[in-house]
């Protein structure tokens, strides 16, 4: 289990991570999610003892990273893609790290097979593609057969086969009871891989939840209504305070009222409904709403709502 308590990192006046607290339980894949620049990598580097926190503490299975006698056996990490000397072979890179813990040469060969680099293990890493470099980095993380695995943007640069491979690998590692923390700025990827989500923006915790709970937090979802008397219903709904958009002839998209209220209103006026349902939130939408204020760079075109324009027309 990873336990992050009140972790803060400041660089001069800029605060990269602010009083961040969360725990990553064993036995499931936890997604560490946030826009670029949200402090994910800095947090991971502090967990791994590479950067010193300004204040706060991070422990892995009860000890700080540096307190582990055999850190590679306790925690495996991929923090930077292709952070290997280009003149060294994949095998020698793994071997040099294995040596620090007295891990046998056979373990290096095993890991090379696991990550699918055995055939190119003797080649200089400089000739590797981004995906191969990523596989080598994952090999480094797995080298000590660790209880905890921390991967920063593991699917970056992987082809679809590789993405599928890493997803399966992470799930099986979690199923073995290990602690798995992976970061991403892509909600869509996390939705497929992670069960538990820690969402950060501008160095602060935005959500510490499960995928299902996060979707459930979405409020004010549009209600989709189909009625032969749509125009009449639209008028009633506007009077009741809702915003109404005509999605197609006879089909309304209603916000500001829930599906039950819309149905009751239609029933009270004897208007027949052919369809009535609440549009489910996509994880991506929830994520965008959650992190909307904390993205460093964004375009301003996304927030043009059709409701507004229709309201003006009405």
């Amino acid at each position: 289990m990873i336990d992050v308590q009140q972790l803060t990192k400041r660089y001069g006046a800029k605060t990269a991570v602010e009083e961040l607290s969360f725990t990553v339980p064993a036995g499931q894949v936890t997604g560490f999610l946030g826009p670029n620049g949200a402090g994910k990598s800095t947090t991971m580097r502090m967990i791994m003892g590479l950067d010193r926190p300004t204040s706060g503490r991070a422990t892995i299975d009860g000890r700080s990273y540096a307190e582990h006698r055999a850190p590679l056996r306790a925690v495996g990490a991929l923090l930077e893609a292709k952070a290997v000397h280009p003149g060294r072979s994949a095998r020698d890179h793994l071997l040099s790290l294995a040596r620090t813990h007295g891990l046998p040469r056979a373990r290096v060969e095993e890991v090379l097979h696991t990550v699918g680099l055995h055939d190119v293990a003797g080649k200089r890493v400089g000739a590797f593609s981004l995906g191969m470099g990523q596989r080598l980095g994952i090999g480094v993380a797995l080298l000590g057969d660790p209880q905890t695995i921390i991967l920063d943007e593991p699917v970056n640069g992987l082809d679809p086969d590789g993405v599928l491979w890493i997803r399966t690998l992470l799930r099986s590692l979690a199923a073995e009871g290990r602690t798995v923390l992976i970061s991403s700025h892509l909600m869509s990827e996390m939705a497929l891989t992670a069960e538990h989500l820690v969402v950060v923006g501008r160095g602060r915790l935005l959500a510490d939840t499960t995928v299902a709970e996060l979707i459930a937090t979405a409020t004010d979802r549009p209600v989709d209504v189909v009625s032969p008397r749509a125009d009449e219903l639209a008028h009633l709904l506007l009077v009741a305070g809702a915003s109404v958009a005509t999605a197609a002839p006879g089909r309304l998209s209603v916000t500001g009222l829930d599906a039950g209220t819309v149905g009751d209103l239609a029933g009270a006026h004897g208007i027949t409904l052919h369809e009535l349902h609440t549009e489910p939130a996509s994880l991506e939408e929830v994520y965008m709403t959650l992190t909307g204020d904390s993205r460093e760079y964004r375009t301003d075109t996304s927030r043009q709502s059709t409701t507004e324009t229709l309201e003006q027309a009405a």
Binding site: G27, R69, L79, T100
Partner: protein
Amino acid sequence: MSATATATAPRTTDPGHRADRHPQDRSPSPRQEEGGVALHRVVRSEWTKLRSLRSTWATLGLAALVALGLAAAIGSNLSSGEPDGGFGADPTAAVLAGTGLAALVLGVLGALQVSGEYATGTITASLTAVPARWPVLSAKAVVLVAVVAPLALALSAGSLWIGSLVVDGGLPFSWGAVLGSTGYLTAVALLGLGTAALLRSSAAAITVLVALVFVLPPLLPLLPWGFVETATKYFPSAAGESLSATVAGTAALSDAAAAGTLAAWALVPLLVGGVLLQRRDA
């Protein structure tokens, strides 16, 4: 999954029951005990890193070529017992001049051992594997000395041997000169390592190394201040020349002072670099 349940159980129970916690909950698993980080293992790791780069062998080859090639070229132009000022006064020192250039090559090798890791990002993996950090730099120094010192000894002795063949009238073999030159080469290699540990960038470290070893010593005496001239005697190259001098009166420092000076150039940047490595963010 059962291991997970035991590990997380104490967190979920009432804090009042903490005293009941089984003692084995706190002890690390046997799997973690069997192979920890140890200095001798880090030394093997650093040897693996050094030997697995072609540039290492190219650098060592270049150092040999420069030292022995210059010894042959310079020596063939000399004859002993014909003092004409300059190097002619000390043909042994003249023949060893090539090792002075080899020193720079070996200093670059030492610098790249650290700055190459920062440039490529390997440092992250290294410090993750050895979070105590100081063993990484110590092991690099051990491996560097183990590789450079024997080579330096061979090149120094080899230069004199070549000198004895090509210098007109022969050249007496001097163990003092050989050991002095060996010490100088090894010290400059360590100076490169220490400088890189301080500066972390290859370009910065190599620039400083070249300045200290080659550029500043002939430049400083031209400055109008007396203390600068004294300081020049304590630069690595001056100390190295003192140590390997064979003609009485040509040494600016006593052997002990020269050896101490070289040791300081070799170790002080390394120690300060080690302290900074501990303190800085990786």
